[in-house]
């Protein structure tokens, strides 16, 4: 076996004379650089006993020469070529970005983060405006909406989501009914479980759960698709050909989400009510027919309208946020991931904030 890179050392008048042995290559370097650094002044480096040298070895030699002003002797022609290639000054070649002190960087991070929350919000609103403008242009130019693109999204945003949304809200219906029944039983008012399930499902739960699911499934998909298209310059290519990305990419997605949200929300509410009904039937002995009849008396039409008004707004919100975040991708794959995450987080957050505002609004106009 060939020994690792090593050196012999003899003390001269002006410092150590070093004689390298073995192979001065990256694979065999071991702790040689550290041992070399630990030495005092070095007068000369003898390469004649080296079996082989690579650029890393040559770099070690060059570095030592520069530090100690040592002389190199016995370099083979190949070694000399390497040394010559590395001889020029490399000190201005940088590897890292300039780093500031940790405290400053931390403060800076906090500043950037707070500013970006604000910018994000402004950005989303601005993007929404731009989308409306694009829609206006499209309609004024009498170009037809891209129904094909919209309908394709129906499949992925809507139909494919039916099983998971149905199952989720069905289970939530059961949970709400069960928890409600436990509390109401203390007052002997178990029958009011139906009020709880019916009104909560139609007015809040069904739609909210749907919005969260759609944001997670489709908002993220929009962001990732568009982000990747930005990276591969597909969006730029589209612009140069004269196809507006707003028209071809963004509008169909937002339109699909907007059209589908009321349908999915209604479907989800019904599933939650069925879940509650199943619990009432099994747990409280309320027959399905009675359950339905009671629901008809309990749920005011305004609950239904409230849902139908909120749903498209949430749809627009999720679609716009997803597309906006996707469009913000500039550089690399990592960013696609980050933007997808913020698309989902921002969409869910905004949906819940808006939902709270709607709740206040509806009750102040007397839709209790």
């Amino acid at each position: 076996m060939v020994a690792k890179a090593d050196f012999e050392q003899s003390e001269g008048a002006d410092g150590a004379d070093i004689r390298f042995t073995g192979r001065l290559t990256l694979a065999r370097l071991g702790d040689l650089p550290a041992r070399l650094d630990a030495l005092g002044p070095i007068a000369s480096l003898d390469l004649s006993a080296l079996e082989r040298i690579d650029t890393v070895g040559a770099w070690i030699v060059t570095r030592t020469v520069k530090e100690h002003g040592a002389k190199v002797t016995g370099a083979s022609p190949a070694a000399q070529r390497l040394l010559d290639a590395l001889a020029s000054d490399k000190s201005e070649y940088r590897v890292h970005r300039d780093r500031r002190p940790a405290l400053i960087r931390m403060l800076e991070q906090v500043g950037i983060a707070s500013r970006s929350v604000w910018h994000e919000l402004i950005g989303i609103i601005g993007f929404f405006g731009a989308m409306i403008m694009a829609l206006g242009t499209q309609l004024r130019a009498r170009r037809r909406l891209r129904w094909n693109a919209i309908v394709t999204r129906f499949q992925t945003v809507g139909v494919d989501a039916l099983p998971i949304i149905g199952l989720m809200t069905f289970l939530i219906g059961i949970v709400v009914a069960q928890q409600g029944a436990v509390q109401l039983r203390q007052f002997g008012l178990e029958v009011f479980t139906i009020n709880l399930v019916g009104r909560a499902s139609i007015r809040e739960l069904g739609l909210l759960m749907t919005a969260i699911m759609v944001a997670g499934r489709s908002g993220s998909a929009f962001a990732a698709q568009i982000g990747t298209m930005k990276l591969t310059e597909e969006i730029d290519a589209m612009r140069t050909i004269g196809v507006s990305p707003m028209e071809a990419i963004v509008l169909p997605r937002v339109a699909a989400a907007t059209i589908l949200m009321p349908l999915l929300g209604f479907y989800a509410s019904i599933c939650a009510i069925i879940g509650g009904g199943v619990f009432c039937w099994i747990g409280l002995d309320i027959a399905p027919l009675t359950y339905i009849q009671l629901l008809r008396d309990i749920i005011p039409m305004t609950d239904f309208w409230a849902m139908l008004i909120k749903a498209p707004v949430f749809g627009i919100l999720i679609g716009v946020t997803g597309c906006y975040e996707g469009m913000q991708v500039r550089q690399n794959a990592e960013e696609v991931g980050q933007r997808t995450t913020s698309a989902v987080v921002a969409a869910i957050f905004l949906v819940i904030v808006l939902d709270a505002m709607f709740a206040v609004f509806f009750s102040s106009i007397g839709w209790n």
Partner: protein, 288 residues
């Protein structure tokens, strides 16, 4: 130094000894290679030898399977039949990630699109192979290595901390080359390194490859469309056509063959222009 580290070093040295590039006359030997995608046969009984220490140019029309050939040699594409040997290692060993680790550090690959890791800076890209194979190298040395590799491939001093998205096309190519040279490989694969560069940039790149190959004693497998590159850098040229390597030799030797594609290629308007204004003919003579 503790015993444990001693042992690790010993292991590493043993692995590094397993492949000894200078012990082979031929870096790559290919016999009867067949590649196909579904019904489309790309290579059918292809033979090729790459000598140690030469720069072999690989030419052929678009879609003749130059990239596929390279991918099969480096084990990214499983051929339907045939034998490939790189430094005496056969294809099965090449395709196996574990077995071929010591082979993998003997070669550097530069892909057609650069294939830089987009979330890492240029310097970090260069350090990826170094960290993978020599995890105990200290950071200071790693940084110095990255800096001189950046310098060696002719990137500007401020390129190290930049991210791939911040680089121009030519800089991406140079950064890709720097990464492929990170481990001081004996064998370098370059897939159309000068495609998409302006003529001046391309000429500089050719010079750079020739210079690096001479300095570091590299064997280079150079896929190219660029006739100037061929004249300027290659010791021999392999022509890919009709699913085979139809001819291998110096350009002078190729010009003596009758094959119509070769005649068209080298004697077409571009071929003549490249041959006419070329200073590299003497370089050839010097080499051969």
């Amino acid at each position: 130094m503790s015993d444990e580290i001693d042992e690790q070093v010993a292991e590493e040295l043993a692995a590094a000894d397993a492949v000894r590039p200078d012990a082979f006359d031929y870096a790559i030997r290919i016999r009867g290679l067949v590649n196909q995608f579904g019904d489309a046969v790309i290579h059918d009984g292809l033979d090729l030898d790459v000598r140690s220490g030469e720069i072999l140019g690989v030419v052929g029309g678009s879609g003749t399977g130059k990239s596929v050939l390279m991918r099969s040699i480096i084990g990214l594409q499983a051929p339907a039949a045939g034998e490939i040997e790189v430094y005496g290692k056969t294809l099965d060993a090449i395709a196996n990630e574990e077995e071929s680790r010591d082979l993998r550090r003997r070669w550097g690959v530069m892909f057609q699109g650069g294939a830089l890791f987009s979330t890492l800076s240029v310097a970090e890209n260069i350090q990826v192979p170094l960290r993978e194979y020599y995890p105990r190298t200290d950071q200071k040395l790693l940084d110095e290595i990255a800096a001189y590799k950046v310098a060696m491939v002719g990137l500007p001093p401020d390129a190290g901390p930049k991210y791939p998205a911040e680089l121009s096309g030519g800089m991406v190519k140079r950064a890709g080359l720097a990464r492929s040279l990170a481990l001081d490989p004996a064998l370098l694969f370059l897939d159309e390194p000068t495609a998409g560069l302006d003529p001046i940039g391309a000429a500089k790149f050719d010079e750079l490859i020739r210079e690096l190959a001479d300095t570091m004693g590299l064997t280079v497998f150079l896929i190219t469309h660029d006739l100037d590159s061929l004249y300027a850098t290659c010791d021999r040229v392999a022509v890919l056509a009709e699913k085979k390597v139809i001819a291998v030799g110096t350009i002078t030797e190729l010009l003596a063959t009758e094959h119509p594609w070769i005649q068209d290629y080298f004697n077409g308007p571009r071929g003549r222009a490249a041959a006419g204004c070329n200073i590299a003919a003497e370089r050839h003579d010097r080499k051969s």
